[in-house]
């Protein structure tokens, strides 16, 4: 009997020991360190003050921007090219009028994704007009078209290089990985400095932000092409070029379209953020409404963005499964021209003003009602203000103070140990390096403050996300109900819900966490639901046949089998929460997020860039610590 019990346990011990020895070692060392040397924060002697050189760099740029050849002969042309193309697209859109644009959207959606989406597309554009947002929508669309085209082109070229050459792939991958955790705001400061505020800076920041997913997916698509097909092409005597054009690229079609799709979504989310640097369009309206604390007006400008995102996303998804013949496209083009002409002749180029619907007021009333009734004094559960206070006092404060009280070297060791547990020594090296870089940059305490908020937000996101996902995985109806809600939350510009969040939770770190949770939750729910759904039904059936309860099935079968999806969800939660750290800075989150906003508002390159770099380092560290490497998984 004893043998039976101990026997299966014994072979596991060494594995467990190997897995967890770094933790144990770190704990012992930490205890020793505490006895020997106690100081918490990163020593000033080990940090580098970058404000001097960064300040003089920024001064140099400002002083030389209109005279140095680099600006005159390079950036100037880039900038002019961007303005010209955006203007070209904008004029075409305006010339087509709302009838032409709506018809074009409907027909393209119909050709690529079917009748239902065509109806959605037409309705979406009609709503943009109804809300009185026609011209801003066209401005945003023009900017988007140029930015997405440039991102896709740049991404495709990079992806092609990385897909065909191993060396380029190895060189490019860490760069793309890093860019993925870089928050959008961090791109703004350098481009503004070089290009000044306005559309060129906005487009270029968007391109830098939206090109990496395209590059990644292109490379992935080319690299994962069925080797059998490639061999067949080679066996027929195809040249390298023929193989690329007739086999590799067509085979990567799915990934390429997914890349375009991703680029569009990233570009849209950037379109709003870029309003901070004068990009105009819908983002500008959202930002303006924010100034007068007008949630309704912000929503009116936010809805077109959500609609654009949904329509573009679904169309690109639809395009993955269909194509279209040349003749049909010619027909569509003719129809669009006809619609545009009709629109012109009947006199309406922009949406008729009489058809505007004002949603701002009812929305504001609804938000006021909601915050009035939820803010405080709700019987039994307390108001949202009380929750926020408790969350701050019982969760955020202890975590932050704990992190800041830890000696810096102990924290480095803990990070290293954690990374060793989930990954390889290489992972650990990256994670520790990133953390040390934060110290060297001289923003150790602020970063730990941000880190505590991120950890709290990730924890809340995961608890909520897993809970909702378990429900959604069980009930198809709930999932169908959730889908549009998730879509909206994922694409709604975060500026729109800043005010309700503050109205509910007050100013401080709690609303920052809430905003992050709202942003990250959809992805976590989606990935987890898919993972749970994807669990082998045979395994579930066998568990049921053994009489397992629902909870047992979940705990013993679904969660373990969906482990890769759950890990991905954790990783995504971390990346997304970090992406809105800066938004958190706008509602009182303070720390790094505030520093970046401050740098942008005050034109203070040193503060903004250093804080942005620290966010990137945090991102790298968290990404590595939550991303089990392939070898370990195998």
């Amino acid at each position: 009997m004893t043998a039976a019990v101990t026997a299966p346990a014994r072979p596991r011990t060494p594995v467990a020991a190997r897995r967890y020895w770094p933790v144990a070692a770190a704990l012992v060392l930490a205890a020793l360190g505490l006895l020997l040397a106690g100081r918490g924060s990163w020593p000033a002697a080990l940090s580098v003050d970058l404000s001097g050189p960064l300040g003089s760099a920024s001064d140099w740029i400002v002083d030389n921007r209109d005279s140095h050849p680099l600006f005159l002969y390079f950036f100037g042309h880039v900038s002019n090219a961007v303005v010209l193309s955006v203007r070209g697209v904008y004029l075409v859109l305006l010339a087509a009028g709302w009838a032409g644009v709506t018809a074009a959207a409907g027909l393209v959606a119909w050709r690529l994704a079917g009748v239902r989406l065509a109806v959605t597309a037409v309705a979406a554009f009609a709503v943009c007009g109804l809300l009185g947002m026609w011209v801003p929508t066209m401005q945003t669309l023009a900017l988007m078209v140029v930015a997405v085209a440039a991102s896709v082109a740049l991404g495709a070229v990079l992806g092609l290089a990385a897909g065909l050459s191993d060396r380029t792939y190895r060189a490019l991958r860490p760069v793309l990985d890093t860019m993925q955790v870089l928050p959008a705001f961090a791109y703004l400061l350098p481009v503004v400095l070089v290009f000044g505020i306005g559309v060129p800076a906005a487009v270029l920041a968007t391109v830098v932000y939206a090109a990496p997913p395209m590059a990644r997916l292109t490379a992935l698509g080319l690299r994962s092409a069925d080797p059998g097909v490639l061999e067949a092409a080679a066996s027929l005597g195809a040249t390298g070029r023929q193989r690329l054009l007739t086999a590799r690229i067509p085979l990567a079609r799915k990934e390429l379209l997914l890349g375009v799709n991703q680029s569009i979504m990233m570009a849209l989310s950037m379109a709003v953020i870029a309003s901070v640097i004068g990009a105009g369009g819908l983002g500008d309206r959202v930002y303006q409404a924010l100034a007068s604390v007008d949630v309704g007006a912000a929503l009116a400008a936010g809805i077109p963005i959500v609609l654009l995102a949904v329509v573009l996303d679904r169309t690109a998804t639809g395009a993955r499964s269909r194509g279209g013949s040349g003749r049909a496209w010619t027909g569509c083009a003719a129809a669009v021209v006809a619609a545009a002409l009709t629109g012109r002749l009947t006199g309406g180029l922009t949406w008729p003003e009489a058809w505007h619907v004002d949603i701002a007021e009812p929305v504001n009333r609804a938000v006021d009602w909601m915050t009035a009734h939820l803010y405080s004094g709700v019987p039994l559960i307390g108001g949202t203000a009380d929750w926020a206070a408790h969350f701050t006092g019982w969760v955020l404060d202890p975590v932050r103070d704990g992190l800041q009280a830890l000696p810096w070297w102990a924290l480095l060791m803990a990070v290293g140990a954690l990374a060793l547990v989930v990954g390889t020594w290489r992972t650990a090296l990256t994670a520790v390096g990133a953390m040390a870089a934060i110290g060297v940059l001289g923003v150790w305490d602020a970063s730990l403050d941000t880190l505590s908020q991120v950890l709290a937000a990730v924890a809340v996101t995961l608890v909520l996300g897993f809970g909702i996902a378990v429900g959604a995985a069980r009930s198809t109806r709930l999932e169908r109900l959730l889908r549009p809600v998730l879509d909206v939350f994922q694409t709604m510009p975060q500026f729109v819900y800043l005010i309700p969040v503050v109205a509910l939770f007050g100013v401080g770190r709690a609303p920052a966490v809430a905003a992050a949770v709202v942003y990250a939750l959809p992805a976590v729910v989606r990935i987890t639901t898919q993972g749970l759904r994807g669990v082998d039904p045979v395994a579930l059936e066998s568990a049921r046949s053994l009489g397992a309860t629902g909870w047992q099935q979940l705990r013993q079968v679904q969660f373990p089998l969906a482990r890769p999806a759950l890990l991905l969800a954790v990783n995504q939660a971390v990346v997304l929460v970090l992406a809105v750290v800066i938004i958190g800075g706008l509602v009182g989150g303070g720390a790094l997020g505030y520093d970046v906003v401050f740098g942008l508002a005050q034109g203070d390159l040193a503060t903004g860039l250093v804080a942005g770099a620290a966010i990137v380092c945090l991102g790298l560290m968290l990404d590595r610590v939550t991303q089990p490497t392939a070898e370990k998984e195998a």
């Binding site: 069925d226 059998g228 097909v229 061999e231 067949a232 092409a233 080679a234 066996s235 027929l236 005597g237 195809a238 040249t239 023929q242 007739t246 086999a247 067509p250 085979l251 079609r253």
Partner: protein
């Protein structure tokens, strides 16, 4: 387990084969080819109507071919390392020898089967023939022209016009229709759209896919997909067809259909084929000659009858143990010289008839049956001779 035209037709009525199948003396480059110890197999099996004399230039000629994977792989062939067993070689050098010192000739018009279990190096071997995998050392020649010294454009020429391959997993382009897949090789050659589609449509009909021209591979069954793969190879009208386990991924019944298809094509066109398989039955069914591979080497090369009737070593013997010998071996292996008046009268069988056909004839007549070739009596078969073949003991002993 019937093979090729000779045994295809009923005993005694067989017309001269339309193919050179089973033809030619065993001009074996592999010395282990026929092992006289195993039994008195009549070695020079001169088939009826072999169209090419054995001295003609072989289509493919492989000599001392090596393929070693791993770091500094070129030091392995020809050194002491060459003789090491696989595990030890890997331990000492980190290299794996997939093909070891292989030599054979493929004659014009024959179906040459390379058979072996997975990991025996057969797929690597066939890829070395058109340098889809670059051999480590040795020579490969097509029609006497050295392939290994070809430059890129000459090699492309070879792949485009002279040797086309059919793959286990089809290797079809999922985004193209059947006819465009079939025309793919022609497109690569640079043929115009209308011309290549017309030509492809012809081949599509030939492999029995008419009416499916506009479907995508994903809408076809596995067997149909492989017909597309076959058609694609045929469309370029190659001198040699290379098959890399083309039917392994198919269901048994469909596999049989496809084998019939290959036999039919071979009968109609007489194209040279090199066929890789791990399925012994398939090898025996299709092959004029079979090279049996193990651990990168050819352990025996010979006709199906030689492989089954005279296994070169215990490995091969073990391999062919379950083969119904009476369906593979011909009456030649059960013949004894005629005695008395046996040579003059009685029922007759062609020398290519299988033992099982002979058993049927003997059972029907109750006495010995003559083996007659072109009116000349080669010998007779009787109960004892046939039984000893089925039992796998030498004919003479059973008789004694």
């Amino acid at each position: 387990m019937r093979k090729s035209p000779v045994t295809e037709s009923p005993a005694g009525t067989s017309p001269a084969g339309t193919s050179p199948a089973g033809a030619g003396p065993a001009a074996n480059p592999v010395t282990s080819g026929t092992n006289p110890v195993a039994g008195p197999v009549i070695s020079p099996v001169t088939g009826p109507g072999a169209p090419e004399p054995a001295t003609a230039t072989p289509v493919f000629s492989v000599e001392g071919l090596w393929k070693v994977f791993g770091p500094k792989s070129d030091r392995v062939p020809g050194s002491d390392l060459a003789e090491l067993p696989a595990a030890e070689l890997r331990e000492r050098t980190g290299c794996t020898a997939a093909v070891r010192d292989v030599s054979f000739d493929v004659r014009k018009g024959e179906v040459f089967v390379v058979m072996g279990l997975s990991g025996s190096g057969k797929s690597t071997l066939v890829r070395c023939l058109t340098r889809l995998i670059e051999p480590t050392s040795g020579t490969v020649a097509i029609d006497g022209e050295d392939i290994l010294s070809m430059d890129r454009s000459r090699l492309r020429e070879l792949r485009r016009h002279r040797a086309a391959m059919v793959f286990q997993h089809f290797g079809l382009l999922p985004h193209r229709t059947v006819v465009d897949n079939v025309a793919y090789g022609l497109e690569i050659q640079g043929m115009g759209r209308a011309e290549r589609r017309a030509k492809a449509a012809e081949v599509v009909t030939k492999v029995g896919l008419e009416g499916m021209e506009d479907r995508k591979p994903g809408q076809l069954s596995g067997g149909q997909q492989q017909r597309v793969g076959l058609a694609r190879a045929l469309a370029v009208d190659p001198e040699v067809l290379l098959f890399d386990e083309p039917f392994s991924a198919l269901d048994p019944l469909i596999r049989r259909d496809m084998q019939e298809e290959v036999i039919r094509l071979h009968r109609e066109e007489g194209r040279t084929m090199i066929f890789i398989t791990h399925d012994l039955n398939e090898a025996l069914r299709l092959g004029d000659r079979i090279a049996l591979m193990r651990d990168g080497r050819i352990v025996q090369l010979g006709t199906p009858e030689e492989i089954v009737g005279a296994p070169a070593d215990d490995y091969v013997r073990d391999f062919v143990r379950d083969v119904p010998r009476e369906q593979v071996l011909t009456v030649r292996s059960a013949m004894r010289p005629p005695s008395g008046g046996e040579a003059e009268s009685g029922p007759a069988l062609a020398p290519g008839a299988t033992v099982s056909e002979a058993i049927e004839a003997v059972a029907r007549t109750g006495g010995p049956v003559r083996v007659v070739d072109a009116g000349r009596c080669l010998g007779v078969v009787d109960h004892e001779g046939l039984l000893s073949v089925v039992a796998g003991v030498p004919v003479g002993k059973a008789a004694a």
